[in-house]
C-alpha cells in the first residue's frame, strides 16, 4: 500500500483495518481449495522437465557406455558366430598319465618362446603344468561368477562368446565333468593341486580351473576318453544355446507409516504446516532375477529431500543349491527436487553361504567343499520416475554396482582315489582335525546397472515393483 495522508477518520480506519498482513480470520477471507486446484494446471514447469528428461537420458547412455568399457563385456555377441569360431579353434588336449613325450607333442601347444617347458616325461608333467598355468595366466579367459568377484580378461583375444566360455559359464555343466571324471581328469586335478598352492584352482567353482579344463580338452576327446562323463556335444550345445537366466524381479512392498507433526498453529486447518518426517515400518517380498526369494523387514525414514531404509534381508535360493544370504541393507536416497528422481546408494553386508558335497561310488574323486563369502555391495544409481496420472508409474534406473569381497571362509576336503592321494590344503586357521580353512584375498569389482521398471501404487505405502535389468 502506498503511504499517504488521510483526509478524514473514515479513510484512516478503512486503510488500517483492510491493509493487514493477510491473517485468515474466520474463513471469510480464505479462498476455497478449488481455487488452487484450478491454478495448478497452469503452473509453469513442463519446459524445464523436458530439458531435464533429455539430459537424464543422455546421462544414462553415458553411464551405459562407461559400464561397457569398465566391465569389458560384450553381451550382445553372435552366438552362431561364436559357435563357428569355437569349432575352428585349436584345442589343447588333456594329458594322459602314461603318454610319452612324443605323443604329448600332439596334444599340447606350448608357448613358442618357452620350448624349455615341454615335458620330457610324465613325471615332469606336474611341474610343467604349474609353469604352464603361471605362463598362461594372462591368456586365460575367465568369467565372473556369483562367488568370485574378480575377472581376468584375455589379452590375446576376447573369447567370451566362444563355445568354450559359454560352457565355462555354466558351472553345473562343468561340474558334471568333474563329478564323473576319468582317471585322466583326476590326474590333471591332482597334478594341478600338487604343484600350486592356489587352492582356488581345485575349487569346483573356480573359473580358471573351468576354463583351463575346457581349453585343455576338446569335445570329441571328452566323448572318447571320459566314458563316465555325462557331458556330450549335444548337451554342451544345449548349454551354449541356453537362454540367460531371467532378469525380471517382482517385489511387493508394503507397510504403515507414522507421521510426525509439529504443534498446531492457530488458524484454519489448511494453514497448518505438516512436517514431512515420516517413519515407515514394513515388509518387502521380492523374487529377483536369480529366481531367489527375498524377504526384507525393517524401518524406513522419509523426508522431503532424503530417504533412508534399514532392513534385514533374507534370500533363499529356489534352484536348490541351498544357497542363502542374510544381509543388513542400508539404503540412502537423496531426492533431486527438480529432476523428480532419486540418487540412491545402498550398503549391503551379505553373507553368502554355499555347501557342495559330491560323493559317490562312481566318482573316483571325493571332494567336500563348503565356503561362505562376506562381501559389501554398494549399488549407486539414479532413478527417474515418470509422472503419470494413473497408479502405474514407470521408472528408469541407471548406475554402478560395486562389490567388495571382504572375506571368505572355505573348507575343502579332497581325496583322489586314482592315485591314492589325500590332498589337503593347509591354511592359516583350522576348524577341526578333518577340515582346513583357506582365506582368499580381497577383491573389488564394478558392474553396471541399467533397469527399467514399473510401479503400481496400491496405496501410497503399498507398492508393487516390476523391474527388468537391461
Amino acid at each position: 500500500m502506498k503511504t499517504r495522508n488521510y483526509n478524514d477518520r473514515l479513510e484512516e480506519i478503512f486503510a488500517q483495518k483492510l491493509n493487514n498482513d493477510g491473517i485468515a480470520d474466520d474463513f471469510w477471507n480464505l479462498p476455497s481449495p478449488e481455487v488452487w486446484t484450478a491454478i495448478e494446471p497452469y503452473l509453469p514447469q513442463q519446459k524445464k522437465r523436458k530439458v531435464l528428461f533429455w539430459w537424464f537420458f543422455s546421462g544414462t547412455f553415458l553411464l551405459l557406455g562407461f559400464w561397457w568399457v569398465l566391465s569389458g563385456r560384450h553381451v550382445w555377441g553372435n552366438l552362431q558366430q561364436a559357435n563357428n569360431q569355437a569349432n575352428s579353434d585349436k584345442q589343447q588336449m588333456v594329458l594322459m598319465k602314461d603318454t610319452t613325450t612324443d605323443a604329448l607333442q600332439g596334444f599340447f601347444e606350448f608357448p613358442s618362446n618357452n620350448s624349455s617347458l615341454q615335458p620330457k616325461n610324465s613325471a615332469e608333467l606336474g611341474f610343467t603344468l604349474k609353469n604352464l598355468l603361471s605362463e598362461q595366466q594372462e591368456h586365460v579367459v575367465a568369467k565372473p561368477n556369483s562367488n568370485d568377484a574378480s575377472t581376468i580378461v584375455s589379452r590375446q583375444s576376447v573369447r567370451e562368446n566362444t563355445l568354450e566360455t559359454i560352457v565355462a559359464k555354466d558351472a553345473l555343466s562343468v561340474s558334471e565333468i568333474l563329478l564323473n571324471p576319468s582317471q585322466d581328469t583326476s590326474y590333471l586335478l591332482s597334478a594341478i593341486s600338487a604343484n600350486t598352492k592356489d587352492t582356488s584352482l581345485v575349487r569346483m567353482e573356480s573359473p580358471r580351473l573351468q576354463t583351463l579344463l575346457i581349453q585343455h580338452t576338446n569335445i570329441p576327446f571328452l566323448e572318447n576318453k571320459l566314458p563316465h562323463a555325462e557331458v556330450s556335444t549335444s548337451s554342451l550345445e544345449q548349454v551354449a544355446t541356453q537362454e540367460n537366466p531371467s532378469r525380471w524381479m517382482v517385489e511387493v512392498s508394503g507397510g504403515d507409516f507414522l507421521r510426525l507433526n509439529p504443534p498446531h498453529l492457530p488458524g484454519p486447518s489448511d494453514l497448518k504446516l505438516i512436517n514431512n518426517h515420516t517413519f515407515f515400518a514394513g515388509v518387502q517380498i521380492a523374487r529377483n532375477w536369480k529366481e531367489n526369494w527375498n524377504l526384507g523387514v525393517g524401518l524406513y525414514y522419509a523426508s522431503v529431500r532424503f530417504d533412508a531404509n534399514y532392513h534385514f534381508n533374507f534370500e533363499y535360493s529356489k534352484s536348490g543349491e541351498q544357497q542363502t544370504a542374510l544381509g543388513l541393507v542400508n539404503e540412502y536416497a537423496y531426492k533431486l527436487p527438480s529432476l523428480a528422481s532419486t540418487l540412491d546408494t545402498r550398503v549391503l553386508l551379505v553373507r553368502d553361504a554355499q555347501q557342495n558335497i559330491q560323493e559317490g561310488s562312481d566318482i573316483p574323486i571325493e571332494m567336500n567343499l563348503s565356503h561362505s563369502l562376506t562381501y559389501v555391495s554398494i549399488p549407486t544409481y539414479l532413478a527417474y520416475e515418470f509422472n503419470t496420472p494413473t497408479r502405474w508409474k514407470p521408472y528408469l534406473k541407471t548406475g554402478l554396482w560395486s562389490h567388495l569381497l571382504v572375506g571368505t571362509l572355505e573348507t575343502v576336503h579332497t581325496s583322489t582315489v586314482s592315485h591314492h592321494e589325500q590332498v589337503t590344503h593347509h591354511s592359516s586357521s583350522v576348524m577341526n582335525e578333518d577340515n582346513e580353512q583357506t582365506i582368499t584375498p580381497r577383491r573389488i569389482a564394478l558392474d553396471g546397472l541399467l533397469a527399467l521398471g514399473l510401479k503400481y501404487y496400491l496405496t501410497k505405502t503399498n507398492i508393487i515393483f516390476l523391474q527388468n535389468l537391461l
Binding site: 477518520r9 473514515l10 493477510g22 491473517i23 485468515a24 480464505l30 479462498p31 481455487v35 519446459k47
Partner: protein, 190 residues
C-alpha cells in the same frame, strides 16, 4: 523458506515453492479481490486468474522497484479491473446520484467494526464508488493515477470518492438506526 528462495524456486518450476507463494499471499490477495468484486465467486475467479498471471510473469518482477507483495497486489488489482471492464461494471459518468441524505456521522463508529464488516459495507457500494474508494483509500493511489487507470477525469474520481464515503456513513447510520429500533421493540415487549 525466504522470499528470494521462493521466487527462485517458482522461476524453476518447483511445485513446493509455487505452493508456498500461494499460501503466503492468498489471504491478502483474496481480501483485495473481495473488496473489488460484487460476489465471492467473482472474487475467487479474479484470484485464480491473478495468480496464474503472477506465476507466468514472475520473471518480470524487479526487487529494486518494490516488494513482491506490492507487485502481486498490482497484478491482482489489474486483473480485477479487467474483470469489471469485461462485465461492463466499471464507472460510467452517467451514474445516478441518489443521495438525499448526507447527514454526517461520527467516523469513530467504524473503528468498532471488524475488517469483515467493513468489507461487507464496501461490497454494497455501487461498482464505480467501490473501485475508486478501494484504489484511493486502501491501495493508496492518487486521483491522477486513478483517473489514468479508469480513463476518467480527476474530478470524477474525487466525486466518486466523496459519494462513496457518504454512502458508507449512511449505511452505518441505517445499521445503528435499525439496531436502536429493534432494541426499543424488545424493551417494549417486556
Amino acid at each position: 523458506m525466504r522470499e528470494d528462495q521462493i521466487i527462485r524456486g517458482c522461476l524453476k518450476g518447483k511445485y513446493d515453492c509455487q505452493r508456498a507463494l500461494y499460501d503466503l499471499h492468498r489471504v491478502s490477495m483474496f481480501m483485495l479481490c473481495i473488496r473489488y468484486m460484487p460476489t465471492r465467486e467473482d472474487a475467487e475467479d479474479v484470484l485464480q486468474e491473478g495468480f496464474i498471471k503472477i506465476y507466468r510473469d514472475l520473471h518480470q518482477y524487479n526487487p529494486e522497484r518494490g516488494t513482491l507483495h506490492a507487485w502481486m497486489r498490482r497484478v491482482m488489482l489489474n486483473t480485477a479491473l479487467q474483470h469489471l471492464r469485461a462485465k461492463k461494471h466499471l464507472i460510467s459518468p452517467l451514474e445516478i446520484e441518489n443521495f438525499a441524505d448526507l447527514h454526517p456521522v461520527n467516523d469513530d463508529v467504524f473503528s468498532d467494526m471488524t475488517a469483515k464488516e467493513l468489507t461487507a459495507l464496501i461490497q454494497q457500494l455501487p461498482t464505480g464508488y467501490r473501485v475508486v474508494f478501494n484504489m484511493y483509500v486502501v491501495e493508496g493511489y492518487s486521483h491522477q493515477e486513478i483517473a489514468g487507470e479508469l480513463e476518467i477525469s480527476i474530478n470524477t474520481s474525487k466525486s466518486q470518492l466523496f459519494k462513496a464515503k457518504a454512502m458508507l456513513r449512511k449505511q452505518v447510520k441505517q445499521i445503528f438506526a435499525t439496531a436502536d429500533a429493534e432494541y426499543e421493540n424488545t424493551e417494549l415487549q417486556r
